[in-house]
């Protein structure tokens, strides 16, 4: 059982992030299943309600669950790997509080006021008469709060990487190393045989975290900035003087919004994931990372690629210039296949060097994560093609074969690999009680995730649109029933994992991660009869 009093503040804050993340994950998959059941024509709710759920579902899933788990892990890993103290423990606490409150407010904007411009918020739908100013204002405040949490996280993280409380390392080489430029210099030295390669100052996972966080800041700037505009519109509408929406061109807005939003999907997620794979591969194998200079350099390429790929979201927008469609939408996007392929190769080869390895939960989930991205990235490359996009855009293919494959199988499995690795480190070696449940979690999540994504992919190829309900129309019922079956497997996987974790750390331990409970009264010793 978990002894919270023995935990360091860093362990405790990381555990707080993890618990909140897992709870939000539960909400996300429940919402997902509610939508799925509705899609099988059970007619559970009216369209307003359905789309309010669809608006909340990705926000809770991405910011409440995925970001939260990643942030918690990084708050623990960055000081641990750099052997430094965290810059500010208070800011770390503030991060999870702001993000949780923000996600709850966004969720309430759907639950109470039926805000449902969905996470793409295409202009001018959010500021239109379709949603009340209360709905828009609540969503905006929630989103700004989440973004504030994200800024604080990045600030605290950068300050931890660069602060000089513990050693006298000069700033410039540290920055070069964090950007991965030393990887390029080493490669240059190796190819030209001029000079000797130098061991980089920053551990590779830190380089990935630093780079990914650059995208994290940029995306928070865009999404937060647009939420400020929403708040402005909501405030004027509340005062009875609604502002005209015509000042913002819908297509330019769409470009800006997708540039920011895509920094999550095609930027920080892929970079953080690559960094996590590298860390796990070295931890599991006990070997140095294979081709680490290439890995460092590739992470920088990935960052630059991530700033230039948003065009693949606008391949069906006929007002978008053809050149932008071809260069950003097709060609630069194709490089995501290369950067992800490099990460897969390096991770698998690093592990291979250490054969034989024991098939631990960490290794299993890591391979599951690699499998998820190996299936989801090519599906994305296929739809990022002018010919294919014309017949796949906004179908269930995009959100199933590509997005859910990556989110649930690729990212989800990678995060679980990290969770199972960090669990003993964060809890001072509490052992999970049941291996069988961990195994069940793995198989049910893997089969469920791939099965659901494939079923959605097939629905998409059969013409079923995303974000669309088909009342009294059974055309896609079979695909949706199959998707629901696999979705239920994922619910079972989640329940098994939660039961296992809670059973291992104890309900009391779980609560004490957040609040101190009164000390337990010891049972009176039975009187010794003489």
């Amino acid at each position: 059982m978990l002894q919270v009093s023995n935990l360091t503040p860093l362990q405790r804050v990381a555990l707080r992030f993890a618990v909140v993340s897992l709870l939000f994950y539960g909400v996300t998959i429940l919402e997902g299943m509610l939508m799925r059941v509705h899609q099988i024509n059970f007619d559970l709710m009216d369209p307003d309600h359905y789309f309010a759920i669809m608006g909340a579902h990705p926000m809770v899933g991405i910011f409440g669950s995925s970001f939260m788990l990643v942030f918690g892990a990084f708050y623990f890993l960055v000081p641990t790997l750099t052997k430094k103290t965290i810059y500010s423990q208070r800011l770390a606490e503030l991060t999870w509080i702001l993000m949780s409150v923000g996600v709850l407010i966004v969720w309430l904007s759907g639950f109470l006021f039926r805000y449902a411009a969905l996470y793409t918020n295409y202009w001018p739908l959010p500021v239109s008469k379709e949603f009340s100013p209360y709905a828009l204002g609540t969503f905006a405040i929630g989103n700004i709060t989440i973004m504030a949490g994200i800024f604080i996280f990045c600030y605290n993280l950068f300050a931890t990487i660069f602060h000089k409380r513990d050693e006298k390392e000069p700033m410039w080489p540290m920055l070069m190393s964090a950007l991965g430029i030393d990887g390029f210099i080493n490669l240059y030295r190796k190819i030209t045989r001029k000079g000797t390669e130098k061991e980089p100052i920053m551990p590779l996972p830190i380089v990935a975290i630093f780079r990914g966080s650059v995208d994290t800041i940029l995306d928070a700037l865009v999404l937060g900035g647009i939420s400020v505009i929403f708040l402005y519109h909501a405030a004027y509408s509340l005062m009875g003087t609604p502002q005209s929406a015509s000042w913002f061109d819908a297509l330019i807005y769409k470009n800006i919004y997708w540039w920011g939003l895509d920094l999550i999907a095609d930027g920080l997620v892929l970079i953080y994931v690559a960094g996590t794979w590298y860390l796990l591969a070295t931890l599991i194998s006990g070997k140095k990372l294979f081709m680490q200079n290439i890995a460092r350099a590739a992470l920088l390429v990935e960052l630059v690629v991530s700033w230039n790929v948003w065009g693949h979201h606008l391949l069906s927008d006929q007002g978008q210039p053809n050149l932008m469609k071809i260069v950003s939408g097709e060609m630069v996007t194709a490089f995501e296949l290369v950067t992800m392929g490099i990460a897969v190769f390096i991770t698998l080869t690093t592990l291979w060097q250490a054969r034989p390895l024991k098939m631990t939960p960490q290794l299993k989930f890591l391979l599951g994560g690699i499998l998820g991205f190996s299936l989801g990235v090519p599906a994305g490359i296929i739809q990022a093609d002018l010919g294919m996009n014309r017949i796949l855009h906004n179908t269930q293919w995009v959100i199933g074969a590509h997005a859910h494959m990556q989110l649930l199988v690729g990212l989800g499995m990678t995060l679980y690999a990290a969770l199972y690795t960090l669990f003993p480190m964060l809890t001072n070696d509490v052992k999970l009680k049941s291996n069988a449940l961990t195994n069940f979690h793995f198989w049910a999540h893997l089969i469920g995730g791939i099965g659901m994504a494939v079923a959605m992919g097939f629905a998409g190829m059969d013409g079923m649109l995303r974000r669309t309900i088909y009342p009294a129309d059974a055309t896609f019922k079979t695909e949706m029933i199959v998707a629901a079956f696999f979705g239920s497997l994922m619910i079972l996987a989640y329940l098994a994992m939660m039961y296992n974790i809670i059973n291992s750390i104890g309900i009391r331990g779980l609560i004490e991660i957040f609040i101190k409970l009164p000390a337990l009264k010891r049972k009176a010793e039975p009187a010794i009869q003489t």
Partner: protein
Amino acid sequence: MIESSHVLGLLKVVFLVYIAIVVSLIARYAISITKPAKKKFELTAYHGKLFYGWMGLLIFVGVGIHILTFNKIPWVKWDLNRDKIKADKEFNISIADYKFTLPEKTLVIEDGQTVRFNLDSKDYTYGFGLFRDNGSLVFQMQVVPGSTNNLVWKFDKSGTYSIRSTEYSGPKGGNLLVKNAVVVASGPALAQLILENKTQSKTN
């Protein structure tokens, strides 16, 4: 002529085969990695070559897909050259307040005609998609307010199609469906349809 149904049919097969290959490769890797190596692993020039070969393959596949579709899928060229293509017929369709306004009750197209669809949105971002009776998608595009949204398509098969908005425009967007709005025909069937449209517009 290649149609979306052919491409999507092929994609289904490729998708399933690809999944089967990747899953079995990872499964094989997972089994092998738990077995002792026959000899001690040493990094050699071979591994470097393998790595650069792998990168080359990925670049080839990533760029090759676009070259393949550019050459094999006809609508890519129609799209890129649509400003220069002379259409046989042009339809101006507008969308406002969750309603399509079509120029005629039924959009009649003669088999073999090249058609330009000009779409205009008065309020939100919508979509414009043409669907077959079995629900499968022929093509779609976005309809963004303030943008020029047009698409050129060549029809070479008789059939009846429905129009549906393919972009979410709010919870009321589900109403944006016009069943059997487009008919492609030839011969007497075409003459009949044209006549019906004429009578309809007179009575209106």
